[in-house]
Point group: C2
Chain length 109, copies 2
């Protein structure tokens, strides 16, 4: 495992990271809300409602775990978000090149 826990973050980098983090979160949440609206419009049976509940339980758990803001997790989080399409690598421009290289490498794992 890469030693990300000892990586230093400048204040500019923190601003960039915070902004990228929030953009990705906002996109993913927006997509989730659309899907919930869509599913709700198609509710026909009680089973659909419990499936919607199960779906929300799983997505909430997933999001709570994924958006980990700890410094030690951040590069892994960004790599996952890039892989999943919620963030573009170029939205991390301004981070030091070593961090960008690590994120890019992690996206290829």
């Amino acid at each position: 495992m890469m030693q990300t826990s000892e990586i230093q973050w400048s204040s500019t980098e923190r601003t960039i990271a915070r902004s990228a983090f929030e953009k990705a979160y906002s996109r993913e949440v927006g997509a989730l809300m659309s899907e919930v609206r869509n599913r709700s419009g198609q509710l026909a049976e009680i089973e659909d409602l419990w499936q919607l509940h199960d779906f929300l339980s799983a997505r909430r758990h997933d999001l709570d775990g994924k958006y980990d803001e700890r410094d030690s997790a951040l590069l892994f989080v960004f790599a996952q978000l890039v892989k999943e399409g919620w963030l573009s690598l170029n939205e991390l421009d301004g981070l030091d090149p070593q961090k960008l290289t690590k994120v890019a490498a992690l996206t290829r794992l």
Copy 2:
């Protein structure tokens, strides 16, 4: 607590009870689905989504507990459904008068 566990149910009564049970369930679930559709149409923030999830968790738990089909629970269940407006007493017509009296009494507790 009333001794409902030893009450006997004829096959006609079982049919009436089953039908009343299903009508109430279907009404309550229908109302719940409407409310979920309504709330989903008004989702604006992630917090709304998690509130919808909490709401569904609570309602599911409530419904799972409330619609108890065991013979020993049935008169209590009917009384609660009548109190909550999901069932009318007259939809239990055909049950023996003693049972109807018990349900009616329970609705007044």
